[in-house]
Symmetry: C2
Subunit: 157 residues, 2 copies
Amino acid sequence: MLDRANIGHPWWHGRFRGCGYRLTIPREAILDVLSKTSRHLSAEDIFLAVHKVYPAVGLTTIYRTLELLVQMRLVFKFDFGDKRARYELAEGTKGIRHHHHLVCTRCGRIIDYTDFIDEEKELLGQTEKGLSKKFNFKITNHIIQFYGLCDKCQNKG
Amino acid sequence: MLDRANIGHPWWHGRFRGCGYRLTIPREAILDVLSKTSRHLSAEDIFLAVHKVYPAVGLTTIYRTLELLVQMRLVFKFDFGDKRARYELAEGTKGIRHHHHLVCTRCGRIIDYTDFIDEEKELLGQTEKGLSKKFNFKITNHIIQFYGLCDKCQNKG
DNA sequence: CCTTTATTGATAATGATTATCATATTCAAT
DNA sequence: ATTGAATATGATAATCATTATCAATAAAGG
């Protein structure tokens, strides 16, 4: 259940005011849904979840809000090869650890992993620095994904 | 210009026969287009290029063939955040070096880079091995992409 | 209370990709 | 060469996630 009257406001409250945006009920509801799952929700998933609590919120608002949240860097948008886009609260948010994804190309299962992240971060940091200099490219984000077959799908021919 | 009568056939000829597929004119034309560009073509780009030489080839065949080529691992399919999928001849093919991408989120420009690839490969190898064991996941592919602003787009507010 | 601006939702439009299905092509065996 | 089975093709229509439109609401600040 969403608790707008929370003492001290949820941590993201200020981010909105600072940008001239309003933290409305639909927006907060979407953030609430995202903050309470470890799955990788599509726009429709989020719509359905929000709908249970606030049936008046339309799908259009979901898309619009997600776009806003991505732009504010509160949310990451992923493409895992099925058609729909998937959304996830940004790392650093609450207790979410930086992670990457294993994507099963057969059943679509997605596994988050945090192992090797430290090494990866180290390498990526160097790489980003080098690339930034060489190409004069301002890197704001990166994606690492491994594709393959999960354990279950390997035993299916 | 496509040269079907090339001595010794293009290198990919055998890959088709081996799978029971036929190396037809449209398929060869598509591979030919892909092998002669360093850009990241969309299905429509490829359609237009093939169309100049073989106007009879339809867009459906382009999509179908690309799907086949991706499945045969001769071609990689990428999503750079604009809507259309982009295709690229697989590494190891001819003289193509393993590389990753910088994607400008503003103008869509894509920069291939091969620097740091060796270090990345080393790390990715370790990571893949570790992840494979831990999750019993058979990794066949990976993607690394950096997003940000290219030099030109940084000077635009 | 009033004015301005931000936000929303229903609906229609978009556009890349897929499905359908009848036709054409290829290969191998006769 | 000819035939027959399997593969490949192209025109067309359908799909479906995402966007655009636009009138209606809600909030903030005087």
